[in-house]
């Protein structure tokens, strides 16, 4: 089984602050880390490697310094690491990013593509599903468990707001993974010792067969207008009443807030 895991280098948002004037992230002095959901996905891949001898490739698209998370992935035990980096890819939104990654993935053998659910810097949860669409692959998002029959079928537990669904899907497919479901292993000491002596393949835009107008800033129909810290939703009020009374309460609350 060939697995490809898409990972992203992100600022550690637990330590990031937002400039209130400009609404942009203050990145100075903030450490860069492997996105937590991606790291969960990488752990899933490594567990499949341990159990079934899968071959695991990691790919990241980003600045040259994103090499750091590829070295980390090598030290955790992956077989192959690819850095997709090119000025032409800069300023990409989720669509341009998924176009570029899908282009790269067409050139990498895969039975299973794993991405994190979402990145902690953008919080869109769009890139994984978009890649699946570009590659015309079945996809399961919000994965919290995966069983493999050793041939070609995965039995997947997918988290939903109400609970979970159990799904069966055949390879090749794409899944997006929730970090809390997979406690990532530590890099091994010997893996660390070897990490910088191993190869990281550097791919430019010429290695992917995607038109220039579909990647980078040119391929990005959206841009970030404003960034703001997430505020916690309050618990809300609960009423245990019959439906007719409930309608009255809802309407009066909406009027109270001048929504209707």
């Amino acid at each position: 089984m060939k697995i490809v895991v898409c990972i992203k280098q992100v600022p550690d948002t637990t330590e990031v602050k937002i400039n209130p004037q400009t609404g942009t992230l203050i990145r100075e002095g903030v450490p860069s880390i492997m996105n937590p959901d991606d790291k969960g996905g990488l752990e899933l891949a490594l567990q499949l490697k341990d159990k079934y001898g899968a071959h695991v490739t990691v790919i990241t698209m980003g600045l040259p310094q994103a090499e750091d998370i590829l070295r980390e992935a090598l030290a955790m035990g992956v077989d192959r690491a690819i850095l997709l980096t090119d000025r032409k890819l800069g300023g990409a939104d989720t669509l341009a990013t998924s176009n570029a990654l899908a282009g790269a993935l067409r050139n990498i053998e895969h039975d299973l593509i794993i991405t994190g659910r979402q990145a902690i810097d953008g919080d869109t949860a769009q890139v994984g599903p978009q890649i699946a669409e570009h590659l015309d692959l079945p996809q399961v998002s919000y994965l919290e468990n995966l069983e493999y029959d050793g041939k070609k079928t995965f039995t997947i537990r997918k988290q939903t707001e109400e609970g979970y669904q159990m799904l069966e899907v055949d390879a090749p497919c794409l899944v997006t993974v929730l970090a809390p479901a997979f406690k990532a292993r530590y890099m091994s000491v010997s893996g660390i010792v070897e990490a910088y002596g191993r190869e990281v393949e550097v791919w430019g835009a010429d290695k992917i067969d995607v038109a220039d107008e579909k990647i980078g800033k040119a391929g990005s129909p959206t841009s970030v207008a404003k960034a703001f810290p997430k505020s916690l939703k309050p618990a809300g009020e609960q009423y245990d009443v019959d439906p007719e009374q409930a309608v009255g309460i809802i309407v009066s609350k909406l009027k109270e807030k001048f929504i209707i």
Partner: protein, 380 residues
């Protein structure tokens, strides 16, 4: 001269910090309180290769440097002094002398299991009447046919009882003085070898410190480590390496106390402001930070020399002396900055202060380190 960490060392630091924070710190107060050996942590360390950092790959180790090993002891000790010394005694006092003095057969037999953490290592030199004056060994080893017969006892042995492999120093020919001392490898479970009293200690209470008893303990002739009569030199050289490990432990404890004190003095308000805003706090903390940084450079410089085959025994002595005394000063002041709370077990600084004290004593007291340093100064 390059004071920067290499990319590999940076990656290692990232891993060991996360490991210490997530796996070691949550247990630190508990194992101290219960005086319990952190066996589950040793298993976790073994799994990722921390029990064999500087052991070459051909013997099952990670093939890392002593610099990395020192960083590991520092980072573990930053949150738990006990875990730091478990690793230090295992690596410096057992795996290292086998690596440096063992035959190929001995290395192949012991190092892979030590490096994987399947076996824990220990070292027995100290006796009731042979502490700082280590030449006064009373444990004897007599060759009887194809076996050595050991008799005597060792005290204050770190990892005692939990270790599977013990480097034991014993007298093989009293008439030759220190040249009549030899080193042996003794396995747990050998008939005639038993674990005696477990010490109840002030600090590093999770680490097992025990007596070892040898009563007509017969070990194979091949378990001699190095040459007959070479044991004292092996012990001294082993302690040179061990001292950098203990220096790193002391450094970690000092850094841990700094971390706690910075956090606490920023939060704690008196007279309407954080106590970190008082100049007394700032000046004292500035002095302590300077000492901790100086201590770190001594540790790294000693490990740099060891890694590069440059003699380091005086460097090791200076690192241990300075780190241990810095740890004692920093932790004592950390308790003072915490006031009444610092004296309670609700905050970790009291534990750190108790843990720090031993670093001035074991693997050569501060007085012994001064003897080593002065010995070089006034060498004829």
């Amino acid at each position: 001269m390059d004071f920067n960490l290499s990319k590999t060392e940076e990656l290692f630091l990232q891993m060991i910090r996360e490991f210490a924070e997530k796996e070691v710190k949550p247990l630190a107060a508990e194992i101290d309180e219960q005086e319990r050996f952190p066996i589950e942590t040793v298993e976790k360390m073994g799994k990722i290769g921390l029990m064999g950092i500087p052991i070459p790959k051909q013997y099952g180790g990670a093939g890392g440097t002593n610099m990395m090993y020192g960083m590991a002891v520092e980072e573990l000790s930053r949150v738990c002094g006990t875990t730091g010394v478990v690793l230090s005694a295992h690596t410096s006092l057992c795996a290292a002398p086998i690596l440096e003095n063992g035959t190929e057969e001995q290395k192949m037999k012991y190092l892979p299991k030590l490096a994987s953490g399947e076996w824990v290592g220990a070292f027995g030199l100290t006796e009731p009447n042979a502490g700082t004056d280590a030449a006064g060994q009373q444990t004897t080893a007599v060759l009887d046919g194809e076996e050595w017969v050991l008799n005597g006892s060792k005290i204050f042995i770190t990892n005692g009882g939990y270790a599977h492999v013990y480097i034991i120093i014993a007298m093989t020919d009293k008439s030759l003085g220190t040249k009549g001392i030899s080193a042996f490898i003794v396995e747990k479970g050998t008939p005639g070898f038993s674990i005696g009293k477990k010490e109840m200690k002030m600090g590093i209470r999770g680490s097992a410190t025990t007596e070892l008893i040898f009563e007509n303990c017969r070990i194979p002739k091949d378990n001699l480590l190095g040459k007959i009569g070479g044991g004292f030199a092996i012990a001294m050289k082993t302690l040179d390496g061990g001292r950098i490990g203990i220096a790193a432990q002391a450094l970690g404890i000092a850094q841990g106390a700094m971390d706690e004190t910075i956090k606490y003095t920023k939060e704690r308000k008196q007279f309407g402001r954080s106590i970190s805003q008082f100049q007394n706090t700032q000046f004292q903390m500035a002095d302590l930070e300077t000492k901790v940084q100086a201590a770190r450079l001594l540790v790294r410089s000693a490990h740099y020399k060891k890694d590069n085959g440059i003699p380091y025994s005086v460097d090791a002595a200076m690192a241990k002396l300075f780190c241990a005394e810095t740890a004692m000063e920093v932790t004592t002041k950390a308790v003072q900055f915490h006031g009444g709370y610092g004296y309670t077990r609700e905050y970790p600084v009291e534990r750190m202060m108790r843990d720090a004290k031993i670093t001035e004593i074991y693997e050569g007291t501060s007085e012994v380190q001064r003897m080593v340093i002065a010995g070089k100064l006034f060498k004829k």
